[in-house]
């Protein structure tokens, strides 16, 4: 078995981070705006992967360790592709961006920064985010930017499974035992204030007409999907107002700092090193 196929990132003919890197190496032109947009996509995937990675060896059952790891691996793949592409605008690599940006240079959303909590909260966050991401990538495949479209096409197939996974668990926790229902509902309450930020348009999206997906357009199909899941699971739609966040994603939750401290500590102890 060759070491390459065994890394499992993606055998087959899918569009991989390595393909984006090769394209960037050939000198593809990426505007600052497109790069900024790609950062948002990449950072959301990266921060969520970082959160999910914690579960591996701690999941409720071994089969679930494997499932959550698969999802985290998919997300790291998406993050690497988007960050590599974004980096082309500034001559930076995926690792330059992941490990050497400060907190205020990240463009992740409050939602993915939320701590794991219990399995109920993690599933609540997964459900919301994968349903959002599914709507987003379904449209990004038609982007005028061929690279973003190609990354989205690969990612969409994977996110389809992430959304299904979260849905299946929401049904089981929502309609399982009294305790699971209570915990699932609590998880949804806990992440709900940060849902709204995902769907806010800003100037950047306005300038990238035809390239970026307008988040506000995703809200209705997102709501419809969740309504279906909640109805089947016997869960109430949380009635909670959105928190003040930042539509341009320059501001972050308090949680991000801790997450980055852990993620970046080793790389920053060895400036200039390769791994």
């Amino acid at each position: 078995m060759s070491g390459e196929s065994a890394t499992r990132i993606t055998p087959g003919n899918a569009y991989r981070p390595e393909d984006v890197a090769a394209q960037v190496a050939e000198g593809v032109e990426v505007s600052e705006d497109v790069a900024e947009y790609a950062l948002r996509l990449g950072d959301d995937a990266l921060i969520l992967a970082q959160r999910l990675g914690w579960w591996i060896s701690r999941a409720p059952e071994l089969e679930e360790d494997v499932a959550l790891a698969n999802i985290a691996l998919d997300l790291i793949g998406h993050a690497r592709s988007f960050l590599t592409y974004a980096g082309a605008a500034w001559g930076k690599s995926e690792d330059d961006l992941a490990y050497w940006r400060g907190e205020n240079e990240f463009r992740s959303s409050y939602l993915v920064e939320q701590p794991n909590g219990d399995f109920g909260k993690t599933i609540a966050r997964q459900l919301v985010f994968s349903a959002f991401q599914h709507e987003l990538y379904s449209r990004l495949v038609d982007s005028a930017d061929a690279t973003l479209a190609a990354i989205a096409a690969k990612a969409l197939k994977e996110v389809d499974y992430h959304r299904d996974h979260a849905t299946q668990w929401t049904l089981r926790l929502g309609d399982g035992t009294e305790e699971s229902k209570r915990r699932m509902a609590a998880g949804l309450v806990s992440v709900w204030p940060y849902v709204d930020q995902l769907f806010q348009d800003d100037d950047l999206v306005g300038r990238l007409e035809g390239v970026a997906v307008r988040p506000s357009e995703l809200r209705a199909p997102f709501d419809a999907y969740l309504a279906g899941v909640f109805a089947e699971a016997g869960l109430e739609l949380p009635d909670i107002p959105p928190a003040m966040t930042d539509k341009s994603r320059h501001k972050h939750s308090e949680h991000l700092g801790y997450l980055l401290a852990e993620m970046q500590v080793l790389a920053r102890e060895h400036p200039g090193a390769t791994w």
């Binding site: 065994a6 499992r8 089969e63 494997v66 499932a67 698969n70 499974y161």
Partner: protein, 118 residues
């Protein structure tokens, strides 16, 4: 990697009732056997087993566990308890009949050797 082995499990399972089964969790998820079709045109082949609360999760867990490296294009999951095996005690006897009936194999017919397109 258990088994159509669990197939044959009827027997060992019965032997577990006491002390080993003590502390056996009644809420434990049941066992499923997993069969993977590695590519179109091939049969589903037994790959192993796993635990899952129900068939929907079983097929998803099977996807996560047994096709991590592109091993399959289709999956079957079957409750291990639904598999009926040939009587394990019969051993050889059950499969005795076909032995000695060499005339069922093409290699039995030696006189036509060398004749083309036969």
């Amino acid at each position: 990697m258990a088994t159509g082995d669990q197939t044959a499990m009827a027997k060992p399972v019965e032997t577990v009732e006491t002390p080993a089964a003590e502390g056996h969790d009644k809420q434990a998820w049941p066992l499923w056997e997993v069969f993977v079709r590695s590519s179109r045109g091939l049969s589903h082949v037994h790959a192993g087993s796993l635990h899952a609360p129900d068939s929907e999760m079983a097929v998803r867990n099977a996807r996560d566990l047994y096709t991590r490296r592109n091993e399959g294009v289709s999956l079957w999951v079957v409750p291990a308890s639904a598999i009926v095996a040939s009587d394990p005690d019969a051993k050889g006897e059950f499969f005795e009949s076909p032995k000695g009936k060499d005339y069922r194999h093409a290699t039995y017919y030696t006189k036509s050797e060398g004749v083309k397109h036969l």
